[in-house]
Amino acid sequence: MDLRDHLSFLNEATAEIGAGSDMSAIAARFAAALVPRLADYAGLYILEALFADGAPAPVVSTAAASGPMRCLLPAGFVEPMDAADPCREAMASGEPVCIAKSARDGAPYLAVPLVLRGQVFGCVALTRSPGRAPFDEVDVLTVAQLAAQAALGVDNARLYRGQEVGAAEVKRAVPPITPPTLTGIQVATRYLPGGPGAQAGGDWIDAISLPGSRIALVIGDVLGHGVCATTAMAQLRAAVQTLAALDLPPDQLLRQLDNLAQRLGDSYLATCLYAVYDPVARVCLFANAGHLPPILVRPDGRVERVAVPTGAPIGVGGVAFDTAEISVRDGDTLVFYTDGLIRELPGDVEERICALTGAPDLVRSAALGPDTVCDMLLSALSPGGGPDDVALLAARLSSIPAENIAYWLLAPLPETVARARRLIRESLEGWGLEDLVDIAELLATELITNAIRYASRPIELRLLRTRTLVCEIRDDDLYLPILRQAADLDEDGRGLFLVSRLAKRWGVSRTTHGKVVWFELALNQ
């Protein structure tokens, strides 16, 4: 083999091996480059320990050979390496192991470790048919050179795959946490993670159940892509969930979120739209941190861009947020979206929003429900998905009719307990819910007794008849009661325990001026 010929082989083989993008392809190219010129069998082994994340393909090996050596091991085969295998020695020492005649079959054998940055992570193994000459010094150097190339490729593939797996996992974490049962609203959401090869994005959507049958709708978009954006998204999203549970007014919630973003670092910049729908008052409150305006589709066919305050993005800091209140009607559909939905449309942002509000089937799809709205918008505006991720939320609103609500302001006096019981009895009888009177009276008694003990201002009692019966008691005491197990002789501490045992659901949340404790009873018990 002359030098020119050898260099040319080395050059081609290097290019060939380097062209592989995943481990199997690299192994196959490695084997194809070496067989039959240098060996009759070539295999590439990766240590299983590198795949501690539980991903498949712990060992990649490929055989390419002619004659009796053909297909000794299939690609992707997991092979426990026995103690006498020269590969073990090569990997242990970090040096090539060259054997003129193997003890097993008398064939020449060469094992070269895959080493990168001082770390051994595999081995290549070559054999020749028993009649061929043993591997010489040039062969060893050549194989070592190509093994180094393969090692680089394998390492890149491993890192890339790790990133892909991470991104895929992050993308899986994005779908919104929507409460199973919501009254007064039908919510549909879509999240498209962007085209193939796209990095994880920073879009998120949520629907959060608040006290008083109100629902918070959230959409957000962290600027940028990749794991950083997704991590920031996860933090902001968790913060919104927590702040929403405190029942902060929308403008205050965004204010707190902005403060938090400042503390987390100066690289956080996100748009966020936070809305609270109140099916009793039939209003929607909005606060906005630089997000695109929502769309309101009225049942009569009007499509409006909701005039939400623009607001500065979360992370800018020091800016005020305003709350806008709009009246809504039964059958109205609200649409929240991220810029990924309209990115592929021509024109500037204004023109794109106009194209969205003018989408031909918008009104017709709204009549069919929020899922249809989402599907229609995605197929009309972002067919096949763009490079950006898309988050979309459609909510069809319905109200709780006033006749299904009863509300009283009551002085925090001892006699209030008995009076409230009478009000509950009369209301439930009026609603034909006689069978719930006893249990509702019992549980309300516990909660009202507790409320009047600490309240300094009138307490509020509210009954809501929807698919369930909800009883809420508000007071101005900020101390939240805690569910605990009362001891045998304790006189206190049984109220919430009773509620937790007998109600379908119950909860406590802070309000702007105190707290609300509520329980829910199933109808037709």
Partner: protein, 227 residues
């Protein structure tokens, strides 16, 4: 258009005068927002319809806490009544003067109405007496009783609650309000010389997040005199 200004009945009670001024300012600030937040007044309309079945055209009716004059003063005028609008809020009276210019207008509280012979065949007070503390509610009801002609009619609307003169947030301002539970109010009306001829309880949800849903109680009562 003239607005008759009633002299405060309790000239010496400065705390009370100050309190009434604050309440009046709250209503001034509310203005037309009140009708926007409470747009559907079916209960009130029904109550006035019932009243108009009892009092004929030409009846003199006092609307206590007439607010914007809508819908009640207009409905009474359309029914042929001669209407006097009484309100503590100059701002509300201005709106009423625009909405029902045919009415007469008085600025003041029901407590300020001077003694005199019965001057009205009917009095209505829709969600206005709830601004008085319980200590003055009886006085107000007796005053209404005294200005009604014998067998005169009294239409009353209150929100069911069990509180006495508490300050609540209401349409972006604060108001002091009083409420009774249905049985207590029925009892109070009887004690003050009214016979309840018709009543209706109605759940109502204002179209705003700045006020709570409520149970509205409408009563149509007849003045009775102990024989």
């Amino acid at each position: 258009m003239e607005v008759e200004r009633l002299a405060p009945a309790e000239r010496d009670d400065l705390a009370w005068i100050e309190r009434e001024a604050i309440q009046a300012r709250a209503y001034d600030a509310m203005g037309a927002r009140y009708d926007e937040a409470f747009p559907h007044k079916e209960g009130q309309l029904t109550c006035v319809e019932r009243l108009l079945e009892q009092v004929g055209p030409g009846a003199r009716v006092l609307d206590v806490g007439s607010g914007t004059g809508l819908p009640t003063a207009r409905q009474l005028l359309a029914g042929g009544c001669s209407v006097t609008c009484l309100d503590i809020s100059p701002g509300m009276l201005e709106l009423a003067q625009r909405n029902v210019p045919e009415a007469a207008f008085q600025l003041g509280s029901v407590l300020d109405i001077p003694d005199g012979p019965p001057a009205y065949e009917a009095v209505v007070a829709f969600f206005s007496l709830l601004n008085l503390p319980r200590a003055r509610m009886r006085t107000a009801l007796r005053r209404i009783h005294s200005i009604l002609t014998p067998d005169g009619w009294f239409g009353l609307a209150m929100v069911e609650a069990d509180v006495d003169d508490v300050s609540i947030p209401f349409l972006g301002t604060r108001l002091r309000v009083t409420g009774y539970l249905r049985d207590d109010l029925r009892e109070l009306l009887r004690e003050c010389g009214f016979y309840i001829g018709w009543e209706q309880l109605l759940s109502y949800a204002p179209e705003t997040s700045a006020a709570q849903p409520e149970i509205q109680m409408f009563f149509l009562c007849r003045r009775v005199d102990e024989s």
